[in-house]
Amino acid sequence: MKRDSGIYIRVTCAVLLALGVFARTPACAESTADDLLITHGESGRYGGSLVVLERAEPKTLNPVTALDAPSRDVIRRMMADLISINRRTLETEPSVAKSWVVSRDGRQYVLELRRGLRFSDGHPVDAEDILFTFRAYLDEAVHSPQRDLLVIGGQPIGVEKVDATHVRFRLSQPYAAAERIFDSVAILPRHLLEKAWREGKLGDAWSLNTPPAEMAGLGPFQLKEYVPGDKIVLSKNKYYWKVDQKGNRLPYLDQIEFHFVPAEDTQVAQFIAGEADILNRVGARNFDLLSGEARTKDGHLEDAGPGLEYNFLFFNLGQVDAQRFPEIVARQAWFRDVRFRQAISAAVDRDAIVRLVYGGRASALWGHVTPANRVWLNAALPKPAQSIERARRLLQDAGFRWNEDGGLMDASGKPVQFSILVSSSSLERGQMATVIQEDLKKLGIQTQVVSLEFRALLDRVLNSRQYEASILGLVSGDADPNPEMNVWLSSGGSHLWNPSQNQPMTAWEAEIDRLMRQQMTTLDHAHRKQLYDRVQQIAAENLPLICLASPNILVAARKNLGNFQPAVVDHYTLWNAEQLYWRQPAGARAQGAR
């Protein structure tokens, strides 16, 4: 991101300078005045179908109300946003908006729309569609899960039409990297949805049972067919607004099929059998299995390095009902002692976790920002190796003693033991608990791993607070710190160790609150980074989350799939679906696989 000294900051992409050059290419012959986006990457060939596997079925195709990952995966292929975040560079880039200018105070954005855009049903797009889209998202009656993102400083962002191709957005307060919020806000076709919205039924529109003809979007693909429980088939949107460097209109693929396969093992089996073309994510063991499998010679396995997922151990530091759970309250005295948490952190062998749990395909973590997030990572954080001696010293300082059997006791002579909650559906976190258990045994701490069904676990952590320690993982959808607000603000619902506090309970939490709020309204990147570095430092010192490891993004695809460039944020493999193509003639492959 560059800045100049003018009132407006003009952010454009270099490629836009070449605008209009390809106006007369055959692919877009019918709309000579179109603003098309020219993509990087190889120019491919047309045709073919791609089979992608989803772990679950999408719940809806309505972009406004979609909550779950599979729905979003499919919808993103069908819809487009104004500005999007490049999944590989993690920086914003123009999408339906050709360019935008930001006012100096960061409170006004004027976006310029591409001309001549059409929805996949051929209906032209204009600024009214944009206004409708934001009206819909911001309508409280619709209950869009994304509404909160569009409410800044308690005020919904204001949207107004400047002219047919310009839209102005007003923010009630400066908001850092505000253009990132446009990512994933899908432009809705007013001609198809306005009626439903006026009737208050927008939430019910575009369910899985809606006929494809009643849906349209600006994404590279459009709905072709839905087979309940089995698959969703998307076909090419012939009005898509991206072209390759030869001016060929994207996408290359005729269709994408999303097959619903709940078990990872079956996904792997389907990939080996040649029935699936892409594995969006596999575990380390299956990755090794695939690499050893002779029949996946035509498969390309890629370790895309660490993602944005961070797994951590945390203690219950919140308010617990002393009458109902006196035992937990008594133990919280240890958990609240920062030296205790530091000792635990020192005793945990993160390298062992990386090796045993992830087969080496992960990074050990000492802070919540993973190495994948190079922009925001505080590289200065210390990365101490496992040290039982240091842990013992810390415990000794905190008044803990050891009995003759080597068991740890607190100052009052009570043996130190606690339970670690893990989700029974997460194999990896269960295994981490096993490693930690053995590590802590060396400190004389007995731990019990309690494996619970995920919802039951969440209920304990967030509502009943009947737990002592737990291992969870969070995945950031974006590299920016703003989506992490809910985790780090003491009032946040994902402030796991002590959620939804009215007042920060400790000084360091208050400090983090202040820093996080400040960075949000700071427009200067360097300053923001400074603030966020400090957050990371405080977190690493006080260890509300004892971060353990971040698994690598492991993906697989057919070797002859062109432009396959896995990203480290979701969707790892399909983020550039419009550019994917089959290197061999499509017919030959189709016969081979299906």
Partner: protein
């Protein structure tokens, strides 16, 4: 008499289903966590939105209110609304139930078609080394949980290159293997129970022997306990089918149900629960009716 009996049993079944639905509602309510539990973790969702959603889904209503509404939704055939899908449960249920039924009916027929001759054969060679081997093989199948069996089958299929995602061969095989040992044991012991009866010696004294004796004479006589088992086996198959479908990616009720359970999608859980309860009760009823048809002696008892 038969019609009255059938009518009475159907009435019982209806009461039973009503009871199951009430208990299911209570149990689901008592279970920790609810549909919006995870929403708190979603950084994009504020507490106000969560509260609004809770209102929209009717999660803040009392249990009797919700039950009454659900009963009402039975009348229009929708069986309530799935929170996640925002669709009537019935539209989600039926296409998948058909797939599940396809799988279970095939597996049911196949496993019985295998279990009957194999069970009779194993009774015929009783205590021979072949019978012991069969016993060991059934022990092996009994000792493997359904989940492991499914994974093993998947692995073998992949290694051998037989794996096809759209074919029902693998799930049916797993279901058959999972059901077979119990059926085999019961067929074998039912045949033994009959083999000691006087009419068997009478048949032998008339020169009836070998396959004719075992299959045409003994098997019908042993059908009584097997008819009850038939009913129970339907129920068993439906429940293991849900697991196997999820693992092997069969587009039946299984994945939908397990996901709904994990998500606490209230009515979407109740739907399959009621459906599988109906399967189960239907299966037991079918077993009793079958018994009635197979065993003429039952017809004179009340």
């Amino acid at each position: 008499m038969f019609r009255r009996y059938l009518l009475r049993r159907l009435l019982h079944a209806l009461f039973l289903l009503a009871g199951i639905s009430v208990l299911s509602f209570v149990l689901l309510e008592l279970a920790p966590g609810d549909f919006l539990g995870e929403a708190k973790l979603n950084p994009q969702l504020g507490p106000a939105t969560v509260a609004a959603l809770r209102q929209q889904y009717g999660l803040n209503q009392s249990l009797p209110q919700r039950y009454a509404r659900w009963l009402g939704s039975l009348a229009d055939g929708s069986m309530g609304v799935s929170f996640a899908y925002n669709l009537p449960v019935s539209t989600l249920l039926w296409p998948r139930a058909r797939k599940t039924l396809q799988l279970t009916v095939t597996a049911l027929l196949l496993s019985w078609m295998i279990a009957l001759p194999l069970g009779v054969w194993s009774a015929a060679v009783r205590r021979g080394w072949l019978d012991r081997f069969a016993g060991l093989a059934t022990s092996l199948l009994l000792a493997l949980p359904d989940l492991v069996l499914a994974c093993l089958a998947l692995f073998v299929a992949v290694r051998a290159g037989w794996f096809r995602s759209n074919s029902a061969v693998l799930p049916v095989t797993v279901l058959v293997l999972a059901t077979l040992p119990t059926l085999l044991r019961h067929v074998r012991s039912a045949i033994f129970d009959v083999a000691g009866q006087a009419h068997v010696r009478a048949a032998r004294s008339q020169g009836i022997a070998g396959a004719q004796l075992w299959f045409r004479w003994l098997l019908p006589a042993a059908a009584n306990p097997l008819a009850s088992l038939f009913g129970l086996s339907i129920a068993g198959l439906v429940s293991s089918s849900l697991l196997v479908e999820t693992i092997l990616g069969w587009p039946g009720l299984g994945p939908l149900f397990l996901e709904a359970i994990a998500a606490r999608d209230f009515y979407l859980v109740i739907g399959p629960v009621m459906l599988s309860a109906a399967f189960l009760i239907g299966g037991l009823l079918l077993g009793d009716l079958l018994l009635y048809l197979i065993d003429p002696r039952i017809r004179i008892q009340t």
